[in-house]
């Protein structure tokens, strides 16, 4: 649907920031950044949902893909448990953000057209493949009555779940099909308004800390700076006490977190700001450096000032660090997982990124899972398509969110549009 047609019947299309000028993708550490621009109306290209039918996503030669669970209630992130079971968070948060302007009513309605009609499950579903044939024949509700759960982490016998408003802990014993009781509160998380509600999470290798991503409460401070207290940052939470510190700030919407094997470095997939052009601002993955400020809202990609954020803060702009690796503007990186040798030689060293897909760009981008190759612990080269075919003829059949690498040799992809969990495996295995 072309929202600009809907909104601006009286206006010539040329008044809008028309998308014909979108340039080739911007990848890597130093993406080319055009000047900010926006027409009278923002580019809105909503990809309406369509059914998969007998089709399925496309994977590279030598790999196959299967749906291991369907008809879920908005699956977001997954976690592989030690026995191979898969936990899936299901939910949808953020409904409390009040509409403040005429625009909020209109934009919310338009964006809703590109989403599932299912209601978020507010639960964890467990999937089990007992005989190892690749079919997850057992499916059980592990826990219910959660509040838009998103991030998951297992440390020893403690299963941590990041709800949209709180970090909670379940006791977990190997082989459990359902939680043995209600969870214990570890710490409350910032949840007022909750425009970007997802709370991504990862654990440090030593199991002492959890890292929680907290997205901004606006695109670019249009709800005012007081709404941004404790937003757009990554918290480091002490597992033993629940105490937290601001680990890194200025990360607009860190909706994917992952811990790099061996080095233990925390990485984030971050969604950058909209409405200043089809090629601004690139979404990215970056190593999250302790104490670093990544720019939002005052600047992007280092010192590129965003004049929409007023009053400006020149000291913070000067201190802003540029992220490590651009994925391209508006792709919406919502999943991040480091790979290993079990995924096959070509995809062994690097990270998979789930790209939910764009709304503020014409033509649309994202709607796929890419593989970012790494060398010596750093991303190099261009992303490689790994799972594609979500978008066809302008319609979205699925939208990838969380990606997780099963150490037995599989990539698990949660799809919150077709409410499916996909599993990609090298052909030879199982």
């Amino acid at each position: 649907m072309r929202a600009k047609l809907l909104l601006g019947g009286l206006l010539a299309l040329s008044l809008s920031g028309c998308g014909g000028g979108a340039r080739p993708p911007q990848y890597g550490a130093r993406p080319e950044l055009p000047e900010p621009r926006r027409g009278l109306l923002p580019d809105m290209t909503i990809s309406l949902p369509a059914e998969w039918g007998n089709d399925r996503p496309l994977v590279p030669k030598g790999y196959k893909i299967d749906a291991i669970a369907t008809d879920l209630l908005i699956p977001r992130q997954t976690l592989i448990l030690p026995n191979g079971d898969i936990l899936v968070t299901e939910g949808s948060g953020g409904g409390d953000a009040p509409a403040l302007r005429p625009k909020d009513f209109i934009a919310t309605y338009i964006k809703k057209q590109g989403k599932t009609s299912a209601r978020g499950g507010n639960r964890l579903t467990l999937l089990r493949d007992a005989d190892g044939d690749g079919k997850y024949e057992t499916r059980n509700i592990f826990a219910e009555d959660l509040n838009a759960p998103y991030g998951l982490a297992l440390i020893g016998h403690s299963l941590y779940v990041a709800n949209q408003d709180a970090l909670v802990r379940f006791e977990y014993r190997d082989g459990q099909l359902s939680a043995s009781g209600t969870p214990t509160l570890v710490t409350d998380l910032p949840s007022a308004i909750n425009h970007h509600w997802t709370k991504a999470m990862t654990a440090s290798l030593d199991g002492l800390y959890l890292y929680v991503g907290i997205g901004s409460n606006s695109n670019i401070t249009e709800r005012g700076m007081p709404a941004e207290l404790d937003r757009a940052m990554v918290w480091q939470v002490d597992v033993a006490t629940g105490a937290h510190r601001r680990f890194a700030t200025g990360l607009r919407n860190p909706s994917a977190l992952a811990t790099q094997p061996v080095t233990g470095q925390v990485w984030a997939g971050v969604n950058e700001r909209d409405e200043i052009g089809p090629d601004l601002v690139p979404d990215y993955i970056t190593s999250v450096r302790q104490g670093a400020f990544y720019g939002w809202p005052y600047s992007y990609w280092g010192q590129h000032v965003d004049v929409r954020a007023q009053p400006q803060n020149q000291a913070l702009v000067a201190a802003a660090v540029a992220p490590d690796y651009s994925l391209g503007s508006h792709v919406a990186a919502l999943g991040l997982a480091f790979s290993n040798a079990s995924m096959g030689a070509q995809f062994a060293d690097g990270a998979f990124v789930g790209e939910h897909g764009s709304w503020n760009r014409d033509p649309p981008v994202g709607f796929k899972v890419v593989f970012v190759p790494f060398r010596d612990g750093k991303p190099v080269g261009e992303p490689v398509d790994f799972v594609t075919g979500f978008l066809r003829d302008g319609k979205a059949r699925g939208r990838p969110v969380g990606v997780t690498v099963d150490p037995r040799g599989a990539l698990i992809v949660a799809d919150d549009l077709s409410n499916t969990v996909w599993r990609v495996t090298p052909d030879g295995s199982r």
Partner: protein, 143 residues
Amino acid sequence: MEVTFDRLQRRPLHPLHAIFLAFPPPLFLGAWLTDLAYGATFQVQWVNFSSWLIALGLLVGALALLWAIVGVLALGLARRGRPVVYLAALAAMWVLGLVNAFVHAKDAYAVMPEGLFLSAIVAFLAFVAAWTGYSGLPVRQAP
């Protein structure tokens, strides 16, 4: 049939037309003032106020504009002057007001400075329209 007009004889607007026309001037003036307040304070609530004031000005202004179009057409195109000024001011107010609504739909300070200028122009046009409209439109007379 020949139609003549008495230059001095004017009829006040229909009461409902007058009520519709009463909305745009204070609403668009208010939007300009709240824009000024936003520019001075950077408090986004002011620009939210602007957005709603503009939206309401457009909504009721559209009714006044429709009435004016019908009324002026009924007078016939032969008659130039005040009715045409009235209609032109009201139409310009509405079209620029719509552009201003879209400008105000940008996020945070992206509204500025265009929004401030447009709000001032639209408020001025609203007062021009009200002034000419409330001065009354010529009475149509049969010979």
